[in-house]
Symmetry: C4
Subunit: 286 residues, 4 copies
């Protein structure tokens, strides 16, 4: 697994790009984060007409700088990774591609420039990057609570959607097209807007019967919000109790890092670990 | 209770239609689910004017196919069940009838066609069907938590409604007809819209005093949402603790099935049970 | 405390009106509840213009019947109670008075009729009446959870109000009168509408800076809803645990009634108790 | 640290202004609170046009009284504190300055008067003042629960913001300028309005695809509110359990006061403490 000579720079680059436990890796992630944010701010500014009118050239140059840097990063990722195809068709691989290509396309095809906005999806990488920091403890516990209650929340959301379809259809029958409930899909849309207590008010029931049914939907929506909350609450209490039994301090964030042992694949090494806690493999020399 | 020869095909059909533990039963439920969804999508598409204008004939044919299949299913259900009248006047029996009949009525009476939308109610059957799948564990625990807190949530909703009537009446006195609070029922409706934090904005207080009272209602609504949430949360923690004490794994879904012993009527048999755990009756040979 | 002869009918009437454990007392409460509901429905119907135009005389007669019955009840309450003044100036005494008097006033003074709507406040008596029923267990536990977290919720609501004043003022400075934020009180009102996630939309920020601040307010409002919920949840879990340790059944509603021993003033007697569990005093013969 | 003679009045004044455990200190805080509230009400009234038109002179006099009193207080705070610069550049020091200066500025520069509204920030001092009262127990436990879940809530809010940027961008691509989504920042603003279930309705999706995506955002917003709630709930249960183990009464508010030992800087002394629990330094003689 480690031909030290030839592939040394590749391994080194891999460590910088894909891991974040070395100073260089951390720096790379921070710089990447800054550029992702910059690229998103650029896209945002461009979408504001008067800013685009005034600073079009400046924004365009910025766009190209970001695009070229993203291209370089994309190529580097492909070269260093052991299984390039797996990366290319992975979730992040596709996002990386989609956020780089529109600028090039915009030279050839007009009108595709708006797709640059897809770059916002790169923000998701923030999770991977920030995971390394002190939030890890928090989000891990959080993730396990959400994971444990996923099935239950699915059932819940499913029930919400079915209720919305049924009540939306009833509202369509009651209110009809003249009161803004022009068709069933729109009526279902209104029902979800109401059930989730968003309440835009672009469509609102006008007939007394419709308002009465709307009242039922609202109270239902107000009441059943308790369900997902109760689920996550309970799961979280459970998982917090488990952790709490092991170590009782308030600051139970042991600094774990995102490194994966290349020998036994075990993760969650302590931040200052030199050797894998599980198999004794040296974590830094590959 | 089991005349094996004559009624064999009936029993077999019964098992397919009403139970879901045999492969055939599962297949039937999945196919039924697909047709229910298809029928609802048809109704939705029909309600969108431009789609109906364009594809009226196609949608009409689809409607008839679905209606005939539902009719066949309805008749099969009546034939195979032991007590047909009980099924016919059961909750699902009425829904099944209501979702089949409007299409036939629409030949004779014009204008009754819109009632086809009642078919959306058939979606409720999804709960019965999906109960069998892996969600069972989740929804059972959920159901018991909701059941345990039903009385408390009733008290809560009751309080919400009384508060809405009182505040709605006060708002009517304060704001009056000129600001949209045309009568007390409408004012109560507005109050529920506000208390549940939906806030359509089709009616909004204009006088300073009305806005002040609205402020109170909103803060009250914002604060008391904690009550149902707290209740379900606590009940759920309690019921989760109970389960947690028995088996500590994360995947505590013992696969129970939806079969009912025809001898002693006990339910919740394990998935691989051959005999009723309660009376020893053979579950598969009826 | 018990001169059996003279005051027997008074005691009897007292038991009927103020308690609800005898069949007569229960009947009285149910009848009262029906009349309260009827009176409120009357007021509501009257407020709907077209109904009032059509059935004015009928509604007026209904009003008078309800008013006279309420008057009789009010007088009976004063006569039978030991300390009439205490009742008259009690919370319910004032409400009872306010819901009876407007109809009489409307003969003398025009325009006071609208105050009949104050009768909605009588609905609060529902709590006292329904307390007797099976909801008691639920609402008692609920009440103690809310009571225990009252101070904490006060702090929370206080913080919400202060945040609203501060942010409302800032929004007034940022948006100004031309965008609907005409003065600080209105701006604070808008801020509460936003913070509680009601969002009427009658006023909405128009400037980018205002929208940015609104974003902060909304996210804050969305996040801090967790605080009261968490508080009530925890208190409720605590109080549920206490009860749970004593009796572990799901249906832990022992039927307690609202009677108070006239000897030792202890409450929460079991529904079938003949003698006070604390001092042995006969509960029914006074 | 204590030259008793010369600086006696300073120490005394310090105790009155900065601490709240002596009667004089309590009185000062209450009076200050009253003046802060009065000053805010003045600012509010001034912002209402018709009130300002009618009572301009009265309000102006009130303003000057409050401003002069605040100036005196500000100077007193600077004189008595040991490190004036630290106070001046502290959070409260800056707020105190900002809420005093605008009135003076308004003599010289026109148009700066509106900044008087910044005085609302002084309301934050309420927390410091009320902390002393019986709410202490409540807010301490609350604060520790929020503190413990701060990291987790940050992760959550972070996720909300990222989701808003991504979905906002998608909505901009789908709906476009003609439906009110004029640029990406506005679109992100709309997305936060929707995700937090506020739903102003000033902008609302018009296209079916936009409405579908909006539906997803709403259900997501409705579902993920469970996350912060669950977190605070669990943390609060945990911290309540800890306290509950030590003393089981309902009123577990040990009266701690806001005094800080001038020797070892330890806080949270019991209300009746004469000597620092940590270093034995006399708390009252400085």
């Amino acid at each position: 697994m480690s031909k030290k000579k030839n592939t040394y720079w590749k391994d080194r680059l891999y460590e910088i790009i894909y891991e974040a436990d070395t100073p260089a890796g951390k720096l790379f992630d921070v710089v990447l984060l800054v550029f992702i944010l910059a690229s998103i701010i650029l896209v945002m500014l461009e979408s504001v007409r008067w800013i685009d009118d005034k600073y079009h050239n400046l924004l365009n140059i910025g766009e190209w700088i970001v695009t070229i840097l993203f291209t370089v990063e994309y190529i580097a990722r492909i070269i260093t990774v052991k299984k390039p195809l797996k990366y290319i068709f992975s979730f992040y691989g596709i996002i990386d591609f989609l956020s780089t290509i529109p600028k090039y396309l915009s030279i050839i095809f007009a009108g595709t420039h708006a797709l640059v906005a897809l770059r916002a999806l790169r923000l998701l990488r923030v999770f991977r990057i920030l995971k390394l920091a002190r939030y890890l403890g928090a989000s891990n516990q959080l993730a396990s609570a959400i994971k444990a209650s996923r099935a239950k929340i699915s059932v819940f959301l499913f029930a919400v959607i079915i209720a919305s379809i049924i009540f939306g259809t009833l509202m369509y029958l009651i209110e009809g097209e003249e009161n803004g409930f022009t068709n069933i899909p729109k009526s279902v849309y209104w029902c979800i807007v109401t059930l989730t207590t968003v309440g835009f008010g672009d469509i609102a029931p006008q007939t007394p019967l419709g308002q009465f049914l709307a009242t039922l939907i609202m109270i239902m929506g107000y009441g059943i919000i308790a369900v997902p909350t109760g689920i996550v609450s309970a799961e979280y209490t459970k998982s917090a109790n488990k952790t709490g039994n092991k170590n009782n301090g308030n600051h139970d964030d042991i600094q774990l890092n995102s490194q994966r042992c290349q020998n036994c694949l075990s993760t969650k090494h302590k931040d200052d670990a030199e050797y894998c806690y599980s198999c004794g493999h040296n974590l830094h020399i590959q």
